[in-house]
Subunit: 442 residues, 4 copies
């Protein structure tokens, strides 16, 4: 992933040096568990000795490993060579009875668990609170609702944020489930049946448990790839949730609407040509990033049907999409939280636009009032529609209310106070607090 | 979806006539709940009367609705017109205070819940049992494991099916979760705030509960589309699970392998040109269908970011993918179950291929035995690799065992019985029963 | 594809009966060419006799073929059985030396060529002319240009349509190229090497040429699937071009903008709840359909890497996406043409919005004028930006022009007539006619 | 893109410092063209002076630009600030009348043109020649063809490579067309109408022509994004072509088949657990990379429908996919060329497998011979099928030929020499040279 969208935590997590240290962590956990098992081939104390030695001789060197890989064309064997160089003869007990994928997939599980943890923490600590604050602050701010982009009936501005709150909550739950699905390692060897005779299901469970991971129930040489696809799909749904919010914030910022505004820092410039421009660039940026998450997810799905006990076609894909997708998702969490937190919500513009929409929002209630008087639904609809459309066609002419009042077909059925009642805006917001109450935990 | 891949249950569920009857079912549930609410505008007994009348005058006519839609260009209004024709004046109380999407989305929830139910039932009753039977029957049938398509070490044939059993169990859980996510309706009106003053959160909850549905927490004009995307993604992961199984069954059927065989009915023909052909067409067909499920899922994700309180761009997509994806998934369940159930598993061929693989599968255990004697991992690896690769290069020459035995570097470290022990195949299958036990419920 | 989006030509082209008649057409073309070759096994006159007989005994019966397929599980053999029933003993010379895919792929080429022809004809005869008419009619209609949804500088309304004209021209060229890429058949038998000894490259070329098709250069059992993917990708780019247009027409129709309006027929209804609504449903519908085209294209790409001389995994995919994608594309052409043709372009609203945008559009020209006086770009930018942003912040306050004029830093550099010149709108449209001239052929 | 898959040329092309120098190159080309135009505001000699100054003061500093961008949050303005720092007062004439996208999109065109050039050169100089060599070397090497993975009829091994040669030729042509489609710049200012009054279509054409680019016919603020999508789609089709080849090379390398073998370097290791393993890792790697190209293409398609005169949602996507997809495609070209060039083709194993397939490949010719004797196609088919399937069922029993000869139904119709003629393998390869001749240019 490019530096522009990478925050330091993710950069560190996916760095080569971190990866090598996790390789060793997994090897040591495996060695320790094997050493502790009955009939272990490994002399007691080996894992501890290696761990101490490692603490002394310092971190592994990615460049040295890369050199070895030039020759072996095998990453894990290159790592093991380097470890033997650094830790000496006892290092031969590392990787004893394991295959590369035991290490690679278990390390990937550790990385993905931590990456999702960073993302989830950001959602919980930054994004959801920001949404909740804006939602609550504008729970009763009236705003014209728009369906198909056309003025419909009033809502409250807070609902825009509350809707995203609820959707991102659902996205979060999916990420949590996926986190559990990928927090799974394997130490079952070359084809997943503990065939070397060293590791057993029990030893594997002990080692993985010391790393906080579960066991892949039916491993092949690798952990099954539907688990990873589930995570990438969950991230892509999170991205699409952010996109829905961002699309709407872009709409609300367009010049004719101007109901919200992204923060614009001192010194910031909107356009190289047009000094007057302030653009919703954060919301636009987030829309683009959502596309990248969806793209990664589609590649992850193609990784599932590996051949027999595994082929390595998924590996090149995962080297790219695993760091990229988690890094992007983390960046999106933070940027979206900042965007939402920094928005100016312009109640004055909302009220202005609501007024501009005229009094057509009452059309439904007038129609229902006519139906109550015994008119068929279809007749009521067409009567109301006629006045409404002439009102639209003749901007600046008579109001909808006046047109209706002047029509005897209406006035003989609806006395003026009943008709007037249909035009009250308070009806529209009366249940908003209930919607909030059922969505936001105390 | 084309007839070829449509089973009768799905055809009925997604038919126009079923859709219209569900429209009416939802309208009646809404009317009944509204009627029962305090200060209801609707005269007591209306819902019951309409229901009785409907029972008498018989089903709605899709062709008549289509005619009305020609004029209104609005499906739900066309439906309501037809209902007013059939059920007379009381029908004006239907749809009272509702918007089209209240009906459309609630009906879609009912259809998707039933569609997923059909799929889940097929998984539980047909597909998982078929996999379990083949897995159990071949729990101890030795087979050469293949990584990268290359002979690796022995596994049991049952594990191929057990792995799919576990993966499809995971796929099932995702579908179940998604089923819950989409079993959600809304009766909150034009922009989701119960703005007509007729429906309230309580009345909505009562009506939806009578249909077995939950309430959309923060509706707009519609139910949020991440819910539907979650279902389509879950189906696509199910499809990919089927694809992994199918890819492997195709591999196992290829002429050089011939370890399994699809059922071939009397009268069946494999090729118009070559009378000798029997092809794995079911497994191939399933691989193709998985691609269609992935494609539908990607369209569903693009439906999420609707504008403001909704736009209708998702509608054309859903008219196609909702019936198509659920119908395909159902077909895949059944075809996969039949495929698995009808397979001939050829233990003789497995044993033949295992033999063909020679005794190279022991290379890991020999290397580990050498490491135990104090040799560094790298030296042991290279010693064993040298003999193994010359063995591969010289098919039909000395066996791997004989080559090792003849090498003093090996023999001075490993007495013949220790070396021989490395070549025992039983080691490889000793933990298979544990894998089965942790996967299959009693 | 569902009936709602299927026009009669496409329905006929993709019907079962048309498919069977094309099967026979290809078989007869092959038989005729083989018969005409030196050392043909087929008695002279056979193809003619069969063709005459077929003209007498009437069309093939899809139901009967379906019955045969029940038993053979092979579509082409079922077809041949039925043909032998209908045409008698001479029918044994049909399919002589061919394999099913010779017929299937050659028929698919004929169908796809015709389907793309229908699409291309619609683009040429309906869609491009409609765009051209609207573009030309509004070549000089001023409209505020919007970048990031924010008022930028003036353009002409005609450019919106001209831009789509140019993009759809590019899309058309891609479809034409793809049409050529798939107008390719094969009659090279079971594995593409004319192995039965009957057909030769020459006979194949003669037969395909009689059908207006080229020869697949290096066939396997099938025509290579990158050809079909190219077509689906070209259709998806066409769909995305339509989507760009539709997104913008939706924007221009939103209530606050109201610069264009979709046709609204007498009797049409916009919303079941709100009689006042007129919604941009055609533009929204087209956005959804573009997603379906992209989805089909992604499935088509996964069809490319078939195994060895072919596997049949592509078949189930193509049975769905080939009719669906071409049918949808055809529907989109027609619906987009009707949408564009029926639009009301509201120059009054454009002028109103342009006025609303104030005089900020001049910010660039003022900045450049200041740079000409020797000010550094950065200083000029910041000077202009300061006035522009305060103008935005203070809606209804002093105009941008007045603010600049009152600032001595500006006025000492730019005399009032020079400053005033920056605010002339005519500058912005002076090159529009050149853009038109370079885009539209005479 | 990660270092592992990045070759130096691509790294340089997409580096920040190269990007900045291209920014300046475009600005200077624009300034020079503007300066040369009648009524230019820019003093004569400015562009030349700036160019000379730049040659003296040395390259721009990406870190300094990044610093400026921190404040302005605008990349091009940050660049211009840095240029003013470096080049002094004359630098104010740069970007005169331009908008950021004029620079960004024109630079992107230069980068993409060069990137595709690198890719095309690799295809022409490395990949196609490697395929051609292998194809030609094995034009007459017999090999059993496989459909559905099942033995079918003989082909030549060279056809495997020739088929890829033809498909990659087609892919190349698509990339060439796309290269032309994106070799397009724009200098038409803020909303594409040359609104600042400085640039005109003529000046733009002159400037772009000096860079070797064409003009975007109907620009908005940006170049239309269908052009970029076309390139990404072309790359994804190239990737899928490589995938088809790679899938088949993996098949041919699987242990049971062993007809080809990837190069295995001295010191290379196949598996950390199993010293005997040599795996087809290059072919597998390439299959994975093809998925990444498809994913990038799908993101590029979503970039097309920008809002109005542009929104910036495409930018974040392109910052990632443009370097990534071109870098990957270049890596794939080289790796595939090396893979193909280094393959061992094992004619001995091909001949062994062909023999293993028995004599069933003759089934078609026997059937046709029976049809010639007057038997109906269906009867002939079933007669031959019966013997063929019993032959398959009874491996090691009577040969197909012997079974047929022993059946009076056959022998009374086909004398032994006629029957024997059906079993000749030479028939199958007689037209291979024609296929080669029509595919390979002299």
């Amino acid at each position: 992933m490019i530096a522009r969208y990478t925050r330091p935590d993710m950069a560190a997590l996916w760095s080569e040096s971190r990866r090598l240290s996790l390789f060793l962590e997994v090897e040591l956990a495996a060695t320790a568990a094997l050493e502790a098992s009955p009939s272990s081939p490994i002399p007691a104390g080996t894992a501890t000795r290696l761990r101490q030695l490692y603490a002394q001789v310092g971190p592994l060197d990615p460049r040295r490993v890369a050199e070895c890989e030039q020759r072996t064309q095998h990453e894990v064997l290159a790592f093991l060579e380097h470890v033997e160089e650094k830790l000496g003869v006892d290092a031969r007990w590392l990787h004893f009875g394991l295959t590369s994928s035991d290490v690679l997939d278990t390390v990937l599980a550790l990385q993905l668990r931590e990456a999702t943890q960073i993302i989830l923490r950001g959602i919980d600590d930054q994004l959801l609170p920001a949404l909740r604050r804006q939602a609550t602050a504008h729970q009763q701010t009236p705003m014209i609702g728009r369906t198909h982009g056309i003025f419909a009936e009033p809502i409250s501005a807070g609902l825009v944020f509350l809707g995203s709150y609820a959707e991102i909550e659902r996205a979060k739950v999916r990420i949590q489930r996926a986190q559990k699905a990928i927090a799974v390692g394997k130490l079952s060897g070359a084809v997943g049946v503990y065939g070397s005779g060293c590791f057993s299901p029990d030893v594997e469970a002990a080692a993985l448990s010391s790393l906080g991971l579960s066991v892949e129930t039916v491993p092949t040489q690798v952990v099954a790839r539907d688990r990873h696809a589930e995570l990438l799909l969950a991230l892509s749904l999170f991205g699409s949730a952010i996109e829905r919010l961002s699309v709407n914030l872009r709409h609300l910022q367009r010049s004719e609407v101007s109901e919200v505004e992204e923060a614009f820092a001192p010194g910031q410039k909107g356009s190289s040509a047009m000094p007057h421009k302030k653009n919703p660039i954060s919301a636009e940026n987030l829309c683009g990033l959502a596309r990248l998450l969806r793209a990664s997810a589609s590649a992850a799905c193609e990784n599932i049907p590996l051949w027999h006990e595994r082929d390595i076609s998924h590996s090149s894909v995962e080297r790219v999409i695993m760091p990229d997708a988690t890094t992007l998702a983390d960046y999106m969490v933070q940027r979206a939280a900042k965007l939402v937190g920094g928005l100016s919500i312009r109640a004055d513009r909302m009220s202005h636009n609501l007024l501009q929409s005229g009094d057509l929002f009452a059309s439904e209630k007038v129609m229902l009032a006519l139906v109550r008087t015994g008119l068929s639904r279809q007749s009521a609809y067409e009567l109301v529609q006629r006045h409404a459309l002439s009102c639209v066609a003749d901007r600046g002419g008579l109001s909808f209310f006046d047109r209706l009042r002047a029509d005897p077909q209406v006035s003989e059925r609806l006395p003026e106070d009943v008709l007037g009642h249909c035009f009250e805006i308070t009806t529209h917001l009366q249940h908003v607090s209930t919607i909030f109450a059922r969505t936001l935990p105390e």
